[in-house]
Assembly symmetry: C2
Homo-oligomer: 339 residues x 2
DNA sequence: CGACGCTGTCGAAGCGCTTCGATTGCGGTG
DNA sequence: CACCGCAATCGAAGCGCTTCGACAGCGTCG
């Protein structure tokens, strides 16, 4: 039942090495031979043995993907990344080994040490991530989706969240808003210093500062309906002057807006809202939220490309920040005129 | 940098085969030798080469996991399965290769044919799933999470959804409810005949029939807030006599109940609601919903166990149905007395 | 027209591991 | 005391593939 390269070679009347070269294209093979070999492969249903191949070529054609399993990351977004990574990897003839956060640094050492994978892609990176030093010592290409403090010797891909924060402020400012507020991720996300959250806030604050006026309110928020409702109440009570709101929290966006409207605030009549995150969730809110989308598919593709490309020509390095774009929907308008 | 078994053998003053036997435990080795070998492994930082091992032993110690990426499966639930599968696999010293639905039957053939994996676990199985025949011909252990029509030669693990449907009815009936309704998964889920949805409905209908009276209303429902609100409105308009409601749709449960309450119906005062699905989402609704939980972790564990155990002692076969349990929360009570 | 450089192919040497005899000392048995 | 069986170990033969060096044939150039 197991067809080997030798079987194919015999069937095609060539040597095993020729079959190998047909498959890899690393040496020129006559048109005729190539055809015969391909036919034999077809007829016999030959599939190269992945282990043997990895052994002989020291290439497994497999990528490791570390997915987060924290309760405070938005699962559908993480899943979009994961699926996009797999899809892109397959396009480049690679497979994906799934690791959980829980495996930690040891897991990385294990899969790298046993040559199971050619490169590692890590999601949900913290500013001072414990896995960074390990990744660096591993001598495998590593690509982070997210940007840590020290990016030396690593490849990082992310949305330019700092700019995303700024863009939201500028968009609101251009409409005339001066009193802004920010509803963000759960406190734990900031506490462990997750790159994207921290950077967004930095960009938001920086742009808000340039606007002048008092520092805007910033409210972290758990990913639950109840927390979002609480945030809405807090906002209306403690910062009633707010006319422009930026929300970075996929789970809270809808209930937050719903709560604001339930409290009698019109969006965007009284309060303009801009979201940062998955575009589909922003678009699904009533009213559809203007938003800076998270291009998960593109980020994932870039990450895979870097990982696979990195396999030849040295470990890839450097930070790739995708430019954010704000899609204008029906949740932003000029602020109400002062009474 | 790459330490091989020969290096370890030299360092420990034994032959490579002895090192191998220390690692595998397949032959008795003296306490003393074992210790020396272990030390050398430690000191040199040896990791067996996965490919070489797979080649020599025809065992990859890797499982393939096929995850669904349909828009109509609840992503967090799928993720819980996936993470649980990986976790359990690691406990049994296996890794997990991630395949997407999109890879389809060819993907299965590929990973099986190239000996990348020792077994395959498939989620989101349909009653007449196109992958079933492929799985059967593959001669690798295959474990399905879900139950197709023909389970010959396959191992299947699932919650007993038929019984889950019945239990909900019985629970409501015991409280005195006679007029029931069912809000289910998106229409597409039924159209492609996904096992769990179809079985739940069958159990529900069967138990409802035994209650006597007219056939209960069944409303499929997309996984959006708007759809859930529509379902609530439809229910109140077309089936106002309903006092007991069963919901199998993680995304719709909360908005559905919210809409019913917004329409002036008290839960459980006017309407009792039982959910089927992830326990955490049911518990998070206001009021917390009585529910039949989906034991994703346990199902995943069983699936992995079957897959790995199946590796020795022939392909595992047979259907394992976990008994459902209803957790009583605050969403069910006696129906209102007739006016 | 001999040397040269291609192109297309082959053979053989590994890659690092497992596993199947075979071998060597033992203590114990009859 | 010759013999047996068992525990502990070794050596060698692969597993299926890639890749390097050789080499045969052939058109070309000086």
């Amino acid at each position: 039942m197991p067809v080997s390269i030798a079987d194919v070679a015999r069937h095609a009347g060539v040597s095993p090495s020729t079959v190998s070269y047909v498959l890899s294209g690393k040496r020129s093979i006559s048109e005729d031979t190539r055809r015969r070999v391909r036919e034999s492969i077809q007829v016999l249903g030959y599939r190269p043995h992945a282990g043997a191949r990895a052994l002989a070529s020291s290439r497994s054609n497999t990528l490791a993907l570390v997915v987060p399993l924290r309760s405070d990351v938005h699962v559908p977004v993480a899943m979009r990344f994961a699926v996009s990574v797999v899809t892109r990897a397959r396009d480049l003839d690679h497979d994906v080994l799934l690791l959980t956060q829980a495996e930690g640094a040891d897991g990385l050492r294990r899969v790298a040490g046993s040559s199971m994978v050619d490169a590692i892609i890590v999601m949900d990176v913290e500013i001072d991530d414990a896995r960074i030093p390990v990744l660096r010592e591993l001598a495998l290409p590593a690509v982070l989706i997210g940007v840590p403090a020290d990016t030396d010797g690593l490849a990082c891909v992310d949305l330019d969240f700092t700019e995303a924060g700024r863009i939201c402020v500028r968009h609101l400012a251009a409409l005339g808003h001066r009193r802004l507020a920010f509803v963000g991720e759960p406190p734990a996300v900031y506490e462990r210093r997750t790159g994207f959250a921290e950077r967004t806030l930095a960009g938001f604050r920086e742009a808000a500062r340039e606007l002048g006026g008092p520092a805007p309110a910033v409210l972290p928020c758990e990913q639950t309906r109840a927390a979002a409702e609480r945030a809405a109440a807090d906002l209306l009570r403690d910062h009633p002057e707010t006319t422009g709101l930026v929300v970075q929290n996929e789970a809270a966006a809808e209930p937050l807006v719903a709560a604001l409207r339930a409290a009698g605030r019109s969006v965007p009549g009284d309060l303009s809202v801009v979201a940062i995150g998955a575009d589909d969730v922003a678009a699904a809110v009533t009213p559809a939220l203007s938003s800076v989308g998270l291009p998960a598919e593109e980020l994932a593709e870039r990450a895979v490309d870097l990982a696979v490309r990195g396999l030849d020509g040295g470990t890839p390095t450097g930070v790739t920040l995708l430019p954010p774009t704000l899609v204008d929907r029906s949740s932003t308008a000029a602020p109400p005129r002062r009474a």
